[in-house]
Symmetry: C4
Subunit: 264 residues, 4 copies
């Protein structure tokens, strides 16, 4: 069982990796249910996930209230995480994103369908959630507990929910699995969108969908992917230092801007 420090490092690394793979940019975030306190979750303060370090992570209760206020701005959409952890005890990690790969589907209310073996993530035919249905005209941000609870209801027993004209929320049984699903679903979405421009999709049978959904639990693919993504991140000069070590040169830019934010 990993220490809390190791869990925090893993969550920062997941934020960095999912950003480095093009799923997150200045916006979006990955959270983790607290490993020792299931009624809390860990999420970064308001900063781009590519820059998140373990020190940026703070603790929230399931109503998305800070346990201790670090005195820096927080993500306005944190209720997405809190309300899903509240509704789904089996969820250990949540990623919310607005990946370019998904946007054509979200902007046209087109169902996400698997187009390759690894692509059936998130549960068969993940549901859509339109904030307008329950809340009328909004700025589409999920900022009140009621918004978050509505989204969690739409997620139901799935592991991915598509948010019309907005983005995607992915859940997982671990931080790594959640990151894997977020990245792999984006790859499938990209393939699907480009395929739809040239022809009719070759549908999976229900049996194939069921079996493909189990691939990641039965193979070494998740470990292999994680090593690959972590290597790519390291090549790009990112990633948190090992637990117990100070951040090196590469973090200086982030630190500087943190000081700048402190002055705000």
């Amino acid at each position: 069982m990993p220490s809390l420090a190791e869990a925090r490092r893993e969550l920062a690394l997941a934020n960095n990796i999912v950003a480095n793979e093009g799923v997150l940019d200045a916006f979006g975030h990955v959270s983790m249910r607290h490993p020792d306190h299931p009624d809390r979750y860990l999420l970064s303060c308001s900063r781009a996930p590519e820059l998140v370090s373990p020190d940026d992570l703070t603790e929230y209760d399931l109503n998305s209230r800070l346990l201790r206020d670090p005195g820096v701005p927080q993500y306005s959409e944190r209720v997405i995480h809190g309300e899903i952890y509240k509704a789904r005890p089996d969820v250990m990690s949540v990623c919310h994103h607005h990946a370019p790969a998904f946007m054509p589907l979200l902007a046209t209310r087109t169902d996400f369908v698997p187009v390759f073996a690894l692509g059936n993530v998130g549960g068969n035919k993940p549901p859509f959630w339109d904030q307008r249905d329950e809340f009328g005209d909004t700025d589409l941000l999920v900022v009140t507990p009621a918004h978050g609870a509505s989204l969690a209801r739409a997620l139901g027993s799935h592991w991915m929910v598509l948010m019309n004209r907005h983005g995607v929320t992915v859940a997982g049984k671990s931080v790594r699995e959640c990151a894997y699903s977020a990245i792999t679903a984006c790859r499938n979405a990209d393939f699907q969108v480009r395929a739809m421009a040239i022809g009719k999709l070759d549908q999976f049978t229900p049996g194939e969908m069921e079996l493909c959904a189990q691939i990641i639990a039965r193979t070494t693919g998740l470990d292999r992917s994680w090593e690959y993504w972590a290597g790519r991140l390291a090549k790009a000069g990112g990633g948190p230092p090992p637990v117990g070590k100070k951040a090196a040169r590469g973090r200086s830019a982030a630190k500087k801007s943190k000081r700048a934010r402190g002055r705000r």
Copy 2:
């Protein structure tokens, strides 16, 4: 209130960032109304915005005449900036670009429409301006005060104007907001174009458009984006040195070519 030196650094940084995010290439530019003299603006001499440093910035009056001639070539389309500052006292920064993301819309006279929450920048349904309508056959460059004034009239009270078969001009209340709008509008345009290839766009209601247009003024998203973009630029080896410091190794290529230009 920032010093003029800090304002100049901010403008150079904005040019570098908007280029690094793929909106500008050898062409296009970001300008700023002079912080102390509202009847002047600051713009680089003729060089690719990725290479612009604070030393490249020169002052123009609102008729786009140089206050002091630095003896190097100037952008031929500087009247875009001058005429918008003249017509719109609320505009503090202008960006003109020819981003690949927008070209399919500009080449087919397709309206820009928001397809995600952050995408409604530039004012609802930003107008088109076709140079041909008023000036007949031209090379499409906006080079006379009359061209610029016509473009400014088309902009009206919007914050973005689309130029048929040419490019886009974006205005902002600050350099950062202008850069943010330019980059975010390109992301929306990219999503819109790819979405249009697979289906019918899910339209925003007027109320949603109104509320989405206010997001950036009400959240920490602009600061978060700026930190993210500045970090990406630094990773790519770009960006002006802090005020009061000399440029480091990374500027040498630009310097060398500046000397080369001096010989011209």
Copy 3:
């Protein structure tokens, strides 16, 4: 005739190159028939091909059984390689991949057709293989000898077989030729997919297809490509060290994660 150590380096380099050119990611692999024992083949243990080093390569017999178990996980789809080497004595190298460029064709059962002179690789009109036809509902992974043998039968005398809703398998007379075909076919697939979105493809005559298929055997294009790709890989900080030399700094991340895997 190269030494076994040189052959192993070439195979690791091919894995790195094909990954660096965007054909392979965390998944997919390149193998080689053993240069001294035609009834064996060499393939990496389970790791992303971008990270494969000569030390990761292990020997299998043609039934895809390990000659010596290195005690680390193996690729589950290794039977693709074994069964093709068994069925096709003229095949010296095999690459299996799920390249984004091909996915629109595989997801819509669209025939691969050459659209430029270099594009006719893999044999005229390479066949499709649908695992469902012979095996009903599966997770689409090719993991039993029967799956692999069926795929090899579909390949027949071609040099490329397209796998519905899954990926592509390419064969070659040498490691370099196989890598070349895998990369070049992806380029053709990308061109084909984008061309199909705007018009009807200008078909090659049978005579042109025949002659284009011979280009690579008759020109210096393969050597030129290999030098180019190896140079790009080196620029990106990848590639195995020369035979007899220790890996340098760049391998440290991979080594670290290897140690981590050892603890598993």
Copy 4:
């Protein structure tokens, strides 16, 4: 007037730049008419243009015969250059390429049309040339003087000719102008292809086409572009050393592979 050494450096730099901008890969080449002997031209030996250094350039007569055989392989399509220099005394530089941006047009015989102000390069509506028309079934490579002469006739008085199912050949009045036209035409082709997927192209008037074709001769855009592209190349670790200086660290990979080629 530049020395021959400076002209050779400029040509190597042009090869490196056009490759770095994504127009050339392992294939394609940029040549220059000899500055002192108009009946000769300079072209690299057979290597990827990204790796070409001044030492790789050799001299040909207008029948594409080597003046001095350097004992290394030559490009098989060099006749493209020789026959155009022979037919068109006003052409000082030629670039032949197979850029991804153009492939959808070449694979569907779709006319190249300008979609933005800078895009009207190569002469209004550049002609198509289909090798099949005059030579029947070939491998589409332009390898005999007759092939090259036929292509030059199709070029006529234009500055760009599109080669069905093959590539593009661009001519210029200088090396820089030729490189500029090659790169800018690819940008226009990319915009055109993506625009065609969503709507009808907004056509330029004949007068606009005429005036847009003159932009580059009348503005500082070419110098600005060259500085930008050279800066991008330097950032990527490429480019020939200044005349009179030895290549630095960055060339070592190329050198090594040159030695390797020497052993062939």
